[in-house]
Amino acid sequence: MIPGISIYEILTVTSILFFIGVYGFITRTNLISILISVELMLNASVVNFVIINKYLFPEVLQGVYFSIFIIAVAAAETALAVSIIINLYRQISSVEVKDIETMKY
């Protein structure tokens, strides 16, 4: 509980962060940039978990515990994504998202 700041203000901040991440995911052309946006989204949700835990349910710690899980999953997923990108780069020598459109009609 941070005195003087209500939950709405912080939730606004995290939402903005989240949607910046979404925007980045949808519009960036570099696969790594997309990965960074995914990280942004994940971290925004982590902050959300902690804040809601602290402000609405101060007696328990489930939110904080879950945020640890999210960080761990995010790390694993990043590692997986980077390995895919590296393999992809070996095939097509590019990390642009417009070059991986072959799985279509």
Binding site: F25, V97, K104, Y105
Partner: protein
């Protein structure tokens, strides 16, 4: 009475047909000719025996010749309506047995000579036997459906025989025309049968024809557009008969049917099949007479009279001798229908009925003879046309004499057969309707005129340009000519009214001398005029034809009815209706189905863009969907 021998009469030609048809390749042609003739010889003897048996041994019971029926159920429609197969023995069916047998036998014998050397010899005799079987079945029929069944079979035999020279396109077309026109008439026949079956609950002739039976007594109980339903049925049945008997306007097939071999024309299109329509009306005569006070019968009379006149006028102009004879047949059939139409029922009032059957009998003899003589001529000079003929009396004496006898018979010169029967018809017409009598008399004159026109044209006048000297036909062909000539002479002396009458009781006829004299006189005028015009080569005929101008040309073109029918069928039915149906089906009905298929493909093309392969598009859809669901969820939760 033991009827077994009568059942054999149709079965023997059927057996011949099956044998010749199945063992077609293995039988030598000459053998098939003998087999055909033999089969028919047996049937003819049985027919004569049956006639003798029926008219003399069994004779009348209580003053009336009894109708004897043997039948068995062939198929059940409902518990009460069914089709039987059987034989019905009464005066006219026995008479027809004799007519069919004699003419068919003569044609069989004649064909052995005429068709000699033809590759399809066995097939020909097979079809002749099929026809004879069908005709026997028709005359012995016990109920409407049985007669319809054999009616169709006779039509098919006619189709097969007209199309005998099947490599000739004109013969194929003629066979098709005959079948389709008669089929169209049969449509009327069938609907008439259905109506009778529904309203009277039976198809059986005995039950229907009973003057005290419910079918006749209750005719007024159902009505449709002012007339009884049964009257409609009878008119429709007459339409069927009119098709088979080439009454106007269903006559167009008969002249074309001359494409068949001449003995076939003699048998089918002169003596037997074409009289089936007359026979049908005669078979149902009590119904025709009693229902609606003979309304349908009046139609029969007028159609018959008109056809007689129409055909005679055309016959005067034709140059193909077989066509002249075809129109002559049409005209004489018109006489028969006319006679039936003016007939009464009881005793002497049934004069028209008797006269019609008598004329059927005698006409079969002399018309078959005329055709066979024509065949003899055609066989000798290989042409049907008058212009190629002339002066043949020197080369073909037997044909000449027999033709002359037949011509005198048809012209109504006493004491040959035609005089007696035609005279009775005119008397019956005179007693009933003077207008019809005048027409009949005029036609008698025309008949004499046209028949002697071709007689003189063939046997007298300037000799045709014959490449080889024509010779008389072989004995196989001339024997039937002589036999038929004999019958044409003596046939009239049979006291027909003793045996055949509408109420089956027989009556006495007396000669009406004044009317007979007038009729003979009309005939003699006709013969005289044609003597003037045609016996020696002269310009009179052509000048007269030119004077008549348009009338002559239209009569020569058979009043353009063939062209009219061709127009209606080819242009309207085929091109407009059939072609549009086919095109409509392909473009619109099928087009709709294929169109649905194409639309599906188009829609699929349009939405396949959703699978763009771009990760970001998928992510966008994902997010958008999640947001929408979240909003909905919040909305529901807060309400």
């Amino acid at each position: 009475m033991n009827l077994n021998h009568i059942i054999l009469i149709p079965l023997i030609p059927l057996a011949v047909f099956l044998i010749l048809g199945l063992f077609y390749n293995k039988i030598k042609p000459a053998v098939s000719g003998y087999v055909g003739v033999l089969g028919l010889l047996i049937s003819t003897s049985l027919a004569f025996y049956s006639a003798y048996n029926y008219f003399f041994v069994i004779g009348k019971t209580e003053g009336v010749y009894q109708t004897i029926v043997e039948k068995t159920v062939w198929m059940n429609f409902t518990d009460s309506l069914h089709i039987d197969m059987g034989i019905l023995v009464d005066p006219i069916s026995v008479m027809m047995l004799i007519v069919v047998s004699v003419i068919s036998l003569m044609v069989h014998i004649y064909s052995r000579g005429y068709m000699k050397g033809d590759p399809g010899y066995t097939k020909y005799f097979a079809f002749l036997s099929l026809f004879t079987f069908s005709m026997y079945g028709l005359v012995l029929a016990t109920n409407l459906f049985q007669i319809y069944i054999f009616w169709e079979l006779v039509g098919v035999s006619s189709y097969l025989l007209i199309g005998y020279y099947y490599t000739k396109e004109s013969a194929v077309a003629a066979a098709k025309k005959a079948f389709v026109v008669t089929r169209f008439a049969d449509l009327g026949f069938l609907i008439g049968i259905l109506i009778i079956g529904y309203y009277t609950g039976t198809f059986d002739f005995e039950t229907l024809n009973n003057p005290e039976g419910t079918s006749i007594l209750n005719w007024a109980s159902t009505s449709f557009m002012g007339l009884s339903a049964l009257t409609w049925a009878l008119v429709l049945i007459f339409i069927g008969g009119a098709g088979k008997s080439a009454m106007f306007p269903l006559h167009i097939w008969l002249p074309d049917a001359m494409e068949g071999p001449t003995p076939v024309s003699a048998l089918i299109h002169a003596a037997t099949m074409v009289v089936a329509g007359v026979y049908l009306v005669a078979r149902l005569f009590p119904m025709y007479y009693f229902i609606e006070d003979g309304f349908a019968l009046n139609i029969v009379a007028f159609v018959g009279a008109f056809t007689a006149l129409f055909a005679a006028v055309i016959a005067i102009t034709q140059t193909d001798i077989k066509r002249v004879l075809a129109f002559s047949t049409m005209s004489q059939l018109g006489y028969m229908m006319l006679a039936l139409g003016v007939s009464g029922y009881e005793g002497h009032e049934g004069l028209g009925y008797m006269a019609s059957m008598f004329h059927l009998f005698t006409h079969a003899m002399f018309k078959a003879l005329l055709f066979l003589c024509a065949g003899s001529v055609i066989h000798a000079i290989h042409s049907n046309y008058l212009k190629d003929m002339g002066g043949l009396r020197k080369y073909m004496p037997i044909t000449n004499i027999t033709f002359l006898i037949a011509a005198l018979a048809i012209a109504g010169v006493p004491p040959l057969a035609g005089f007696w029967s035609k005279d009775e018809i005119l008397v019956a017409a005179f007693e009933h309707n003077k207008f019809l009598y005048i027409i009949g008399l005029f036609v008698a004159g025309l008949t004499a005129f046209y028949i002697f026109r071709i007689y003189f044209g063939i046997f007298w006048g300037k000799e045709g340009a014959y490449k080889n000297k024509p010779h008389e036909s072989p004995w196989s062909m001339t024997t039937p000519l002589l036999i038929l000539a004999f019958l044409s002479i003596v046939g009239g002396f049979i006291p027909f009214s003793e045996f055949i009458s509408a109420d089956q009781a027989g009556f006495e006829t007396h000669m009406n001398y004044p009317l007979a004299a007038i009729a003979v006189f009309a005939g003699l005028i006709g013969i005289g005029l044609s003597w003037l015009f045609y016996k020696k080569e002269n310009e009179l005929a052509d000048k007269f034809a030119n004077r008549l101008g348009v009338l002559f040309t239209s009569a020569f073109h058979k009043f353009y009815f063939d062209e009219l029918y061709l127009f209606v069928t080819k242009k309207i039915l085929f091109n407009i209706i059939a072609r549009s149906a086919a095109r409509f089906d392909k473009k619109y009905v099928d087009g709709t189905m294929v169109g649905i298929g194409n639309q599906t493909v188009n829609t699929s093309e349009k939405i396949k863009g959703l699978q763009s392969g771009k990760v970001q598009d998928y992510a966008f859809a994902f997010i958008a969907g999640a947001v929408v669901i979240a909003i909905i969820f919040i909305y529901i939760w807060t309400n």
